[in-house]
């Protein structure tokens, strides 16, 4: 039903573009009546006949039939909208005779009409509509559409679409009874780079689908060339998902790199600070939906600073209330922050419920850009990639160029000396911890766009993010970057061979082994502070 409604909507849009005047070959009243009434087989035959002749005016008429707006009376068809009848050929108002009957369409007729609509669209002057028609026809081509496809291919001005039409035609011909036609089709399919072609070829190569040896050889050659072309898309896809996972890990671990790497505080509640950020995003989303529905798509822009501030505030309170009393006792800090994480999780469960809450992508983050036929890069993942780069840049500048960064580095390297130079170390600690927590909030905001937002959100990332920091080495941002991206790509590559769980285990084992060789991570701090 929904596909049907969508089809109608598309059709209406299409009719609006085309207008009534584009009639290449006029639809006759008699034809219209034949399509609208009579035996189902005859109706479909009449429809196919009209489509094959490329009647552009057919489209609105078929549209109307599909929307149950056509009535038949006395060998004539009428389009009836809002109680007013109109002639389907001229569009002029007409009087509806008494006793006009509704046109009844069974599913078979409906399918035929829908595919006919797509067929007509192949001749639309708009490239986008033609591309859409090709996509729609992909699943429902048979030999009856061959003439239409050939005509469309000949008329197609766009080279890309022309090639797609060629493949579509070949897909029909590949199962033709004529051996020569199959041979030609197999050669044509070798030039395709559609994932659908691959499954089509595999289908034909199956046990008893294709018996002719020469055609089989051609089919195999075609499969090889399609495979080699698709392989690139797959490889790039793995790299992209790997980098995407890596960017998320990096974002998650970046806050840890500050609290753990620079301050030496083991913050097991880091995941829950992320969760706080994600829930802040959820609240902002709800606020926009209720009070500012007009600019709903912009909610994410408001959510970024809000999630940062909320998490940073929670972090500052934690630092002042609990963590500052535990400096120099890392194992106790670990336990206390674990306790904090339990309480934060339970608080969220009490306030928002134990179920996941829905966070919607703004419309400009849904969808994606298709780079290759089998490789689509989702906008939300691209946005997270860019966002991670921005946050990383911001943190790097903050640490390297600002006064606060200078103080943080000073306190990290030598706390008593920094204190002697007049640095308020306690305040620097609070700021640095709040910064780390705020970045966790940003990570939560980003994660809300790609995953579930629930009380357990943080738990699933905490082990991974600690691995990134451990692997990257303490006290360095560069190490975190390499470790985050590296682990992400490594994880996805192993996942391709061994499945998700084994990949995770393999990565964990890899880290344990790696730490054997380089206990200080990829980048070890040199000098006196290393053994502290």
């Amino acid at each position: 039903m929904t596909t049907f409604v969508a089809g109608v909507l598309r059709g209406v849009a299409f009719a609006a573009c085309l207008g009534w005047a584009l009639a290449a070959q006029a639809l006759t009243a008699e034809q219209a009546a034949r399509i609208a009434s009579g035996d189902n087989d005859e109706r479909i035959a009449a429809l196919d006949d009209a489509v094959a002749r490329g009647d552009l005016q057919l489209a609105p008429f078929v549209q109307a039939i599909l929307a149950d707006e056509v009535k038949v009376a006395g060998g004539r068809a009428f389009i009836v909208r809002d109680g007013k009848a109109a002639d389907p050929v001229t569009g002029a108002a007409a009087a509806l005779p008494e006793g006009a009957e509704d046109v009844v369409n069974n599913n078979r007729v409906r399918r035929a009409m829908e595919s006919a609509l797509a067929g007509i669209k192949l001749f639309s002057p708009e490239r986008a509509l033609r591309a859409q028609a090709i996509a729609e026809l992909k699943d429902q081509v048979d030999e009856s559409r061959l003439g239409l496809l050939e005509k469309a291919e000949a008329a197609e001005p766009d080279a890309g679409l022309k090639a797609q039409l060629g493949v579509l035609k070949a897909a029909v011909l590949i199962s033709s009874a004529d051996r020569d036609k199959r041979l030609v089709a197999a050669r044509a399919l070798a030039g395709s780079s559609q994932p659908a072609t691959r499954s089509l070829l595999l289908e034909r190569l199956a046990a008893n689908a294709e018996t002719d040896p020469q055609v089989r050889t051609e089919l195999q050659a075609a499969l090889r060339s399609v495979d080699s072309r698709l392989a690139w898309g797959e490889r790039l896809g793995v790299v992209f998902t790997g980098v995407s996972l890596g960017s998320i890990l990096l974002l998650v671990a970046l806050g840890l790199a500050i609290t753990y790497g620079l301050m030496g505080v083991i913050n097991m509640a880091h995941g829950e600070l992320m969760m706080t950020g994600a829930y802040a995003t959820y609240m902002v989303q709800n606020f926009f939906r209720q009070h500012l529905p007009g600019v709903f798509d912009a909610y994410i822009l408001a959510a970024i600073p809000v999630s940062f501030l909320v998490s940073a505030l929670v972090g500052a309170v934690l630092e002042r209330g609990v963590i500052r009393w535990l400096y120099g006792r890392p194992l106790e800090t670990l336990l206390a922050t674990w306790g904090i994480s339990l309480m934060l999780m339970q608080t969220v469960r009490t306030v928002f419920g134990a179920q996941n809450v829905p966070v919607e992508n703004p419309s400009w983050l849904s969808g994606g850009v298709q780079v290759l036929p089998n490789l689509t890069l989702p906008f939300n993942r691209l946005a997270i990639l860019a966002f991670t780069a921005l946050v990383l840049l911001g943190v790097a500048l903050l640490i390297a160029r600002t006064r606060l960064g200078l103080f943080v580095r000073g306190v990290t390297q030598n706390r008593p000396m920094a204190a002697c130079m007049g640095v308020n170390t306690a305040r620097v600690d609070t700021y640095a911890f709040a910064l780390g927590a705020g970045i966790a909030g940003l990570a939560g905001c980003a994660l809300s766009q790609v995953g579930n937002v629930g009380p357990d959100l943080g738990q699933s990332y905490i082990v991974d993010s600690f691995m990134v920091v451990v692997l990257g080495g303490v006290g360095q941002l560069a190490g975190t970057v390499y470790a985050g991206l590296g682990l992400g790509v490594l994880n996805k590559f192993i996942e391709g061979y061994a499945g998700a769980v084994l990949a995770k285990i393999a990565v964990l084992v890899f880290i344990v082994v790696f730490i054997q060789k380089r206990p200080q991570g990829i980048f070890a701090l040199k000098g006196r502070s290393a053994e502290a």
């Binding site: 336990l335 309480m343 082990v463 691995m467 344990v512 206990p519």
Partner: protein
């Protein structure tokens, strides 16, 4: 000055006795209560009597005693040697799984599918037992596995970790990662450990039905005696010379190294022993609770063991036992009465103990007693 200084005769402290007279009396009392009084009050005293101990409490205390063994193991490695392991949940679960395999085979043909194979294998459409189940019908073999699997894993992992001087928080996080990886592995169906459901529906142990009162009390008594045995063993270790070296490693590892000791060997020994203790606890836990599944090795379970030891008081052997009883007692009260607040309580406990009670309950009691002695000259 001669190049070689004469070895100064350092007076070694006199070897401490294992327990004081009062201590032995307390142990004897504990044995009496656990092995004699509980069975009498549970089995012999009529059900409607005021002194009857219900099966529920026998089961609960039996379970908590298993946890207390874990806490004791945790104390040896953390309280005395200063190594915080977050992976003891894994050793506990491994012991539990080894015992669970035997119990699964004991079900025989009484499962839902009346097959020789455990139900979950029938469900997965397996025809034969996987290789690691070959000897699972032998109790002795599985009992050996209870000790060997956690022991070997701990030995190998510890050897590499301690050799490359991973310590402190690094070690904690790596052990947590190990546990996490193992949990993911056990969640898989094809590893042959029942996936997320784990093992359950046990029917018999040594051919005797497992749900009878007598069986429950027997398991209870065994657990109690094992706990007391481990306590005495731990006591012997920490009061020995080895125990002193362990504590020295905790306080200043580099100095121990410079004095000619090899910390790796000592750490490895106590780490492996501690893992084996957890494995035994897991093996005792499974028949009493009737289920083992991968959630026992979740990171949360491992870290909770640390809090049992911390709440009771680290570096005191009675402390972890007190802590395990206190935390798990509170857990069973909370999860029945106000389940909403259990995590708040547990979280607050983590924070309060680390902030205000570094020596735990035992430390608090000692301080109070010392204050009373001080005020009454």
């Amino acid at each position: 000055m001669s190049a070689v200084m004469p070895h100064p005769a350092l007076p070694l402290p006199a070897a401490a006795t294992l327990l004081t007279r009062q201590g032995w009396a307390a142990v004897a009392a504990a044995v009496l209560i656990l092995a004699v009084l509980v069975p009498i009050f549970n089995l012999a005293v009529p059900k409607d009597s005021l002194f009857h101990l219900s099966d529920y409490y026998v089961g609960l205390v039996g379970k908590i005693m298993c946890y207390a063994i874990c806490a004791l193991a945790m104390d040896l490695i953390w309280g005395y040697t200063g190594i915080l392991s977050l992976g003891h949940g894994l050793f506990f679960a491994l012991g539990g799984y080894a015992m669970g395999m035997y119990l699964m085979r004991q079900i025989g043909r009484d499962g839902n599918y009346q097959s020789d194979l455990p139900d979950f294998m029938v469900f997965l459409n397996w025809k034969t037992l996987p290789w690691h189940w070959t000897f699972s019908d032998s109790f002795l073999f599985q009992a050996a596995m209870v000790v060997l699997v956690p022991g070997l894993l701990a030995f190998v992992f510890g050897y590499f970790a301690f050799r490359s001087r991973i310590k402190g928080v690094y070690f904690s996080i790596i052990t947590q990662a190990l546990t996490f990886a193992a949990m993911l592995l056990f969640f898989r169906n094809e590893t042959g450990f029942g996936g997320n459901n784990g093992f359950t529906d046990f029917k018999r142990l040594f051919g005797i039905p497992i749900t009878t009162s007598h069986m429950r009390v027997t398991l209870f008594v065994i657990t109690g005696l094992v706990l007391i045995g481990f306590f005495l063993m731990a006591r012997a270790i920490v009061s020995s010379k080895t125990g002193r070296v362990l504590q020295a490693i905790r306080d200043a590892e580099t100095r121990v190294m410079f004095s000619g000791y090899d910390p790796v060997a000592f750490k490895l020994a106590i780490w492996t022993l501690s893992a084996v203790m957890c494995g035994v606890a897991g093996a005792l836990y499974v028949p009493q609770v009737g289920i083992i599944n991968p959630s026992e090795m979740s990171p949360a379970a491992g870290i909770e063991m640390a809090i049992w030891a911390a709440v009771g008081g680290r570096a005191t052997l009675i402390g972890p036992i007190v802590g395990a009883v206190f935390v798990n007692g509170a857990k069973s009260v909370f999860t029945v009465a106000f389940p909403e607040f259990w995590l708040y309580f547990l979280g607050a406990l983590f924070i309060a103990v680390t902030l205000f009670l570094p020596d735990g309950i035992v430390g608090l009691v000692r301080r109070l007693m010392a204050a009373r002695k001080g005020s009454q000259p």
